[in-house]
């Protein structure tokens, strides 16, 4: 008797496997690992950082005072928490075999995924910066022009010899604590750009927000668009707007 299900046998595949499946499996694994690491981070040190970023980025003096702190102290605490998270991530991602494409995929996935809320994405920039700094590549390009959320702390502690080209809108604290690297943002950046940067260069091709260059101790910020507000507590360093130096206020 003829088997009526003969036509429904499994389809033959070559020994090498399906190219699309293989590509998917190759890159899904590190991205998924990176995403899981970030989720774990949110359960731990990044949780408090999210709170600090929220209130500092809104310049919410009132809430900072309620917590019994002067506002600059609140900003310093935000940076201290960011540094703590950064070191934690730097250790955690050492064993994950990711490449630059994975970082870009992760950014897109985090921004577009409905699973991560806006609040959960606040510390994501520190995580991305740690991934960029821990990568062996010296010149890194992230092309993310139409993201749903912009990332804070992009280029955080970018070391000497590294270049990060970011195409898209950067969030608050762009280039914070820059340590000699070159951060090039093809687009605008929000408030606190170049906060506490020590050395290196930041190039923003569009506008920046309030408190640009706050607590800056060295390095150079070049803004090709307009600057909404210059920091009052700048110690050293240079800020240029459309090629012209901006004096300290």
């Amino acid at each position: 008797m003829k088997n009526p299900f003969l036509a429904f046998r499994s389809v033959p595949v070559s020994d090498e496997g399906n190219p699309p499946d293989r590509i998917m499996a190759d890159h899904q694994s590190p991205v998924q690992q990176l995403l899981n690491t970030y989720r774990n981070l949110l359960e731990g040190p990044a949780k408090e950082l999210a709170w600090y970023i929220d209130h500092t980025s809104r310049m919410n003096y009132y809430k900072a005072i309620l917590k019994g702190m002067e506002f600059p102290q609140h900003v310093k605490n935000t940076l201290a928490f960011a540094e703590k998270v950064y070191h934690h991530v730097f250790e955690a991602v050492q064993h994950i075999p990711y490449d630059v494409g994975d970082i870009e995929d992760l950014c897109a996935l985090m921004s577009f995924s409905p699973e991560l809320s806006k609040n959960e994405l606040r510390p994501a920039g520190v995580y991305i910066s740690a991934l960029v700094n821990a990568s062996r590549k010296e010149h890194i390009v992230l092309k993310l022009p139409i993201l749903q959320h912009s990332f804070n702390f992009l280029g955080f502690k970018l070391p000497t010899g590294k270049t990060l080209l970011f195409e898209g809108s950067a969030g608050d604290f762009t280039g914070a604590k820059l340590c000699g690297g070159f951060l090039h943002v093809e687009g605008p950046a929000r408030n606190w750009c170049g906060i506490a940067m020590e050395q290196g260069e930041i190039l923003i091709t569009k506008d920046t927000g309030q408190k640009t260059g706050e607590l800056m101790t060295g390095g150079k910020i070049s803004v090709q668009g307009s600057i909404l507000g210059i920091a009052r507590s700048r110690v050293a360093g240079e800020i240029y707007q459309k090629g012209k130096p901006v004096p300290t206020q």
Partner: protein, 523 residues
């Protein structure tokens, strides 16, 4: 050269077998002058002979047709597979690109990549040969480069390495990630779409054919719109998507079986459609009216005939023609139990408040309109009719009265009307809608009414089953609830969020009514 029918006769069974015998009619052909390879309309695949002839200079016609059929069946079988997925993909692309034309093009390209890659990974298809010899625009070149990279076949495409590398990282075959994948796809090809828009090529279809929504059946479309309405909480977003596809949706929903004849068409209103489809996702129960004696007798069972009992009830068939007490059988009759008119569900007057204190249904999800729409849907499903009294300041003319009707579009249209003025009820008009048998009343309002005492008195005097749905909690709703606490024919529900709506039970007051000795009366 073989004729089209001969080629199809050989190829179609083979392609169908490869795609697990989809239930599609035999493809037809047309002499379309468009550059596209095929068109699908109402499940009918239509192959362009112009395209086949152009391609036959470089490939055998059999290969071209087989490739086109593989492409079409892969769309049917995997991506988009149905209208709902198509709209979901478009919605995601639109959120990134913010432009109708670009979003449509990006969606079309994404669906092509998914369908073709799926086909390539599962079957031995001539698609790579077809793509190798196809005329390509700028975007088509990038898509071919992408195919070249992920299929590992030489398609003669080149350039845009950076973009292709980014595109190749997207997990096309993973259906769970399509939400994010299409966004990433749209983000990467955005510069090319802008270029096409500037050069006026954006409106041109893909060489394999564009994905027109008329390919879906009416049922699929209705189901898809229902699911879309359920996932979107903002009517303006639904309206935006609807307007982007208005022509095709209207053509499919209204064009069925109306190819000849006369008659005015009804323009589809996006707000009406949104609330109509959204209401279909929520089933409100309607308590039916109780059974009552019909008053007529019907033959129930046989009993032996005795002297003195009526001759007319004798059943000659079971009595064998014998008239003898104890042997002759007669019918015993009983009075029947029947439902009231309309299988126990009376008609309903829906009184909806559309004053300024209520949400505008066009701009945000209006719980009042959604609640009223669900109530109307419940009555209409039970074959009852609905009259609508939509009011704001009724004395100033802000009033819409729809007489009893079972036309959904008219009813939902009347519900969606928004006046946004003051709030005053006019009872003369409501009284005009009263009739026998007594209809139910469904009131939905936030109770910020200028003449609430008249409303309370009116409800107290009437015998209708009244379901009052109060939007939000404020002192007015509290006062109304207080005043109606001892009124047996009024059931009150509070709605503060969309999830409260399914908790409404229309006509629940019956329990109180019948415990108060009104059992058996027609309400």
């Amino acid at each position: 050269m073989k004729s089209f029918d001969e080629i199809i006769g050989t190829i179609w069974p083979r392609v169908r077998k490869r795609h697990f015998y989809p239930e599609l009619p035999v493809p037809t052909y047309s002499d379309s002058t468009k550059r596209v390879g095929l068109e699908i309309k109402g499940k009918q695949i239509d192959i362009s002979m112009t395209f086949v002839q152009e391609m036959s200079e470089r490939l055998e016609p059999e290969v071209v047709i087989e490739g086109l059929l593989d492409h079409a069946l892969s769309h049917y079988r995997f991506c988009p597979w149905n209208f709902t997925t198509h709209l979901m993909l478009y919605r995601e692309a639109k959120q990134v690109l913010k432009d109708k034309g670009m979003a449509r093009k990006a969606t079309d390209c994404f669906m092509d990549v998914v369908a073709d890659t799926r086909c390539m990974s599962e079957t031995d298809t001539p698609l790579p040969r077809l793509y190798r010899h196809m005329q390509r625009g700028n975007l088509d070149e990038v898509v071919c480069s992408l195919y070249q990279q992920i299929w590992r076949r030489d398609l003669g495409a080149g350039g845009h390495e950076e973009m292709t590398t980014r595109l190749a990282r997207i997990p096309y075959l993973d259906r769970r990630h399509w939400h994010t994948s299409i966004r990433r796809f749209a983000m990467v090809i955005h510069p090319l779409l802008e270029e096409e828009e500037l050069s006026g090529q954006l409106q041109q279809s893909n060489p394999m054919g564009s994905h027109n929504l008329t390919q879906y059946s009416v049922k699929e479309m209705e189901q898809g719109l229902k699911q879309l309405a359920a996932t979107i909480n903002n009517p303006s977003e639904f309206k935006e998507i609807f307007h982007d596809f208005e022509k095709e949706i209207t053509e499919t929903l209204q064009g069925q079986g109306q190819s000849m004849g006369r008659g005015r068409s009804f323009p589809l209103d996006a707000d009406t459609l949104y609330y109509m489809k959204r209401a279909e996702n929520t089933f409100l129960p309607v308590r039916k009216r109780p059974m009552k004696k019909s008053g007529s007798l019907y033959p129930h069972q046989h009993i032996p005939w005795e002297i003195g009992k009526p001759f007319q009830d004798i059943d000659p068939w079971t009595s064998f023609g014998i008239i003898m007490p104890g042997i002759t059988q007669m019918w015993q009759r009983r009075e029947g139990d029947v439902y009231g008119r309309g299988e126990g569900t009376p008609d309903c007057i829906v009184i909806i408040d559309s004053s300024g204190s209520m949400a505008n249904p066009s701009e945000q999800l209006s719980f009042a309109v959604l609640g009223a729409a669900c109530a109307c849907d419940a009555y209409l499903r039970n074959d009852a009719m609905v009259a609508v009294y939509n009011f704001s300041d009724a004395s100033a003319g802000d009033l819409k009265i729809l007489p009893y009707s079972n036309n959904r579009r008219e009813i939902y249209g009347a519900l969606c009307l928004y006046f946004g003025g003051g709030t005053s009820l006019s009872f003369e008009e409501i009284e005009m809608l009263q009739k026998q048998p007594v209809p139910d009343i469904f009131l939905i309002s936030d109770m910020q009414i200028t003449n609430p005492e008249l409303l309370i008195r009116y409800f107290s005097d009437r015998k209708n089953r009244i379901t009052a749905v109060l939007i939000g909690k404020n002192k007015y709703t509290k006062a109304f609830r207080h005043s109606m606490a001892f009124q047996p024919n009024v059931g009150i529900f509070n709605v503060e969020k969309a999830d409260d709506i399914p908790g409404i039970v229309i006509g629940q007051v019956r329990e109180y009514l019948y415990s108060h000795g009104l059992s058996g009366e027609v309400l």
